[in-house]
């Protein structure tokens, strides 16, 4: 099994927390920070979305780079009085505070739990009270994205029971509701429902609502927060379901968003990529290779054309990483379903460069081929999780790889079933017609075996789509007339009759 799956996260022991505190005074507020929160607070109250976005995207990053490279930001208590102790602003500030910890430092267990509490409080406010803000889509997307990320991170962390200290175990037992899977899913679901986003998107098609046209912003004096959080939560749900291995439901959650068009999901590059990456991956696992190839192709072309504009953005590294992963997934899809004509020239040449050789080897379906499928899958797949609470009984084990191992195993099982197809494909491409007997001879199998191979080919190349319809994704097709195989086309290159 490939080793490059290991979830990279430094263990946050007590010493780590202490190191975090060295030279850090949570109550010290540099002037630049005071200035930032005061202005940000004012812009939020005045609904100056553009200024909010500038401060959020740029100022916050700049200060983090300059002053808080490896320490936390000042505590919320220290800045609260600069912003009238505004409850909502403090919750938002805290959300960014924790996000900074995850990004630059290593969260302790207590911090993970406190972050969960903060999300609960923040989400309760948005769901149950009238929030009168307009926040940039980037910020709202980051909140949902970070929420799912911290959930995934927590599951990974919790599944490594082997070296947990007694304090950590005690805390885990005490706060067993923190980051529980029901809570996470139900918050995302609540956003989708309370915002009424599905109905809004439906009505938009009939011209009865405006949402996409305004990028989700409310120009009639209201707030965009609940609606846009509801919208991005659909992508959040797709992501969580993929992490659980439930691809069918994941795609169902995304259904209200029409990915054949631009939409609010494309208004933020991170959201665009996350959506397509998970959509493609889910379709790959559902054996709908053509759907996956189409979307990966579009996304990779888009990234190729636009990544220069994101060079300075804090998301740049993530964009590049997801780009590479999608090329790997595309290589897998095309090896299982050779439909090169679906891939645009630029993307194809990038693909050849990165994976040309590996793809040739994958299509040989020998042991080496399986190793490459393993390698690419492991590199590109989501960080699957085990959502259930750990057993606290001795001996304590690490089970953080279990979910990934299962998905990989089942994926390779499918690849193995398709093993025989490569050989028959080669022959089918050369003949316009050939008898079963002759082909069986060439392939060195007996008649009944050849028949099963041909049936497998037909079954595997005819996927069932989301509406239960059968769709062929075969690049070369045939039918059998009694003892004779007929290819589905005639070529003018002088093909042989077997």
């Amino acid at each position: 099994m490939a080793t490059n799956y290991d979830y990279e996260e430094a263990p946050a022991t007590y010493d780590e927390a202490h190191r975090q505190d060295l030279g850090y005074d949570p109550n010290f507020v540099p002037d630049s920070v005071k200035s930032l929160v005061v202005h940000l607070y004012r812009h939020i109250r005045e609904k100056n979305v553009y200024e909010i976005h500038q401060m959020y995207e740029i100022s916050f990053q700049t200060l983090s780079d300059r002053l808080f490279k490896d320490t936390p930001w000042p505590s919320v208590d220290a800045v609260a009085h600069f912003v009238d102790n505004d409850q909502v602003f403090c919750l938002l500030y805290r959300e960014m505070w924790f996000r900074h910890i995850y990004a630059r430092l290593s969260p302790t267990l207590k911090q993970r739990i406190d972050s969960w509490d903060n999300y609960c409080s923040l989400f309760q406010v948005v769901l149950h009270s009238v929030v009168n803000m307009q926040l940039p889509n980037q910020w709202l997307w980051d909140m949902v994205d970070e929420f799912v990320y911290q959930f995934q991170s927590f599951c990974q962390y919790r599944a490594k029971m082997k070296n947990k200290t007694e304090q950590e175990i005690a805390l885990l037992r005490q706060y067993d509701q923190a980051w529980n899977v029901y809570g996470v899913l139900n918050y995302l679901q609540a956003f989708v429902e309370k915002s009424n986003i599905i109905q809004i998107l439906e009505q938009e098609k009939e011209g009865l609502e405006q949402f996409t046209a305004t990028d989700g912003y409310d120009y009639s004096g209201g707030s965009n927060v609940l609606k846009v959080l509801g919208y991005f939560s659909m992508v959040g749900l797709l992501r969580v379901h993929c992490l659980l291995g439930d691809y069918q439901t994941g795609l169902k959650c995304l259904l209200p968003i029409d990915i054949s068009q631009q939409g609010v999901y494309t208004s933020v590059i991170g959201s665009h990529i996350t959506t397509i990456y998970h959509y493609g991956f889910a379709n790959l696992m559902l054996r709908r290779y053509v759907d996956a190839i189409r979307e990966f192709n579009k996304m990779l072309l888009y990234i190729y054309k636009t990544k220069q504009y994101h060079q300075k953005s804090p998301q740049y590294e993530q964009i590049l990483k997801k780009n590479e992963q999608m090329y790997a997934l595309l290589a897998i899809c095309l090896s299982l379903c050779p439909q090169v004509k679906l891939v645009e020239e630029t993307v194809n040449s990038q693909l050849r460069e990165k994976y040309g050789e590996k793809m040739a080897r994958m299509q040989r379906y020998d042991d080496e081929a399986f190793a490459i499928y393993d390698e690419l899958f492991s590199y590109a797949c989501p960080k699957f999780i085990t959502p259930s609470a750990p057993s606290f009984e001795e001996p304590l084990v690490n089970y953080n790889q279990d979910a990934y191992r299962l998905q990989l195993k089942l994926f390779l099982y499918e690849v193995k079933q398709q093993q025989l197809l490569s050989g028959v494909r080669t022959f089918l491409k050369v003949y316009s017609t050939i008898s079963l007997g002759k082909l069986a001879n060439y392939m060195e199998v007996d008649d009944p075996t050849l028949r099963t191979i041909l049936l497998t080919y037909k079954h595997k190349t005819h996927a069932v789509d989301s509406e239960g319809k059968v769709i062929s994704n075969a690049d070369v097709d045939f039918y059998i007339d009694d003892l004779q195989i007929q290819m589905a086309y005639t070529s003018n290159f002088g093909l042989t009759s077997g």
Binding site: G245, L410, L455, G468, Y489
Partner: protein, 233 residues
């Protein structure tokens, strides 16, 4: 293939409620017993709901102590009956590896493997050895026969009788009756093969009659052919 069929009015009430639960409140541990009952209902009434069963498998994933392997086995059998849809794999993705190692699940996985790779003879042999698993679900045999015919229809314009017989596990007089019925109602045509026995002409579709397809297929580039010739010798 085990898709939804008409159910009596009162039972329809119950299914409607469960489907609603799954649509509106799926992430809720309290609906687990309802979902389990629904699986049993699907088995006895020969209905099927992938969404509800995935919902249950998810809940089992969230709370493994509440998992009933008997229910899981029934879900998998129903999923098998939904072929060619990939429902069986979708369910396996949600079932922990250690559970899949149990005997009854290993058997079901083998059965699925045979169906996925067109090995119908091996499938029926194995199914005969595992009657207790497959006989527990009414409609199983018919569903698999329907799948077999589906794959055969993708592949064959004309199929020899023995090949068909092996695939759907019907022989002799029963097969005669079956073929007559299909000829009368399913558009099948029974021909005499050249001294070798009966040939069955399956109904035309775009998969076994490519001329019925709307888009034209591509032709083979020259390099492909020149690469092949050395092998042919």
């Amino acid at each position: 293939m085990g898709r939804e069929r008409e159910t009596p009015k009162e039972q329809q009430q119950v299914s409607y409620t469960v489907e609603q639960l799954v649509a509106v409140n799926p992430y809720n541990p309290d609906i687990l017993p309802d979902l389990e009952n629904y699986v049993n209902e699907q088995v006895s009434l020969q209905t099927y709901s992938l969404d509800a069963n995935l919902c249950l498998l998810r809940l089992y994933q969230f709370e493994p102590e509440r998992m009933s392997t008997q229910i899981v086995a029934r879900i998998l059998v129903k999923a098998l009956m939904a072929m060619p849809a990939p429902d069986f794999s979708l369910c396996l993705f949600l079932i922990p590896e250690r559970v899949q190692m149990e005997e009854q699940f290993k058997t079901l996985i083998v059965l699925s493997h045979y169906l996925e790779t067109g090995r119908f003879r091996q499938f029926w042999d194995e199914a005969a050895k595992s009657r207790h698993i497959v006989e527990a679900v009414p409609g199983f045999e018919q569903a698999i026969q329907a799948y077999a015919i589906h794959v055969l229809s993708l592949t064959y314009q004309k199929i020899p009788r023995p090949v068909l017989a092996e695939a759907i596990n019907i022989e002799g007089l029963s097969l005669d009756k079956f073929l007559e019925h299909q000829a009368a109602n399913g558009g099948w045509i029974l021909e005499k093969g050249h001294g070798r026995g009966q040939l069955i002409v399956l109904p035309q579709n775009e998969f076994n009659h490519p001329e019925l397809k709307k888009s034209a297929a591509d032709s083979v580039p020259l390099e492909h052919i020149t690469r092949i010739f050395p092998i042919l010798g």
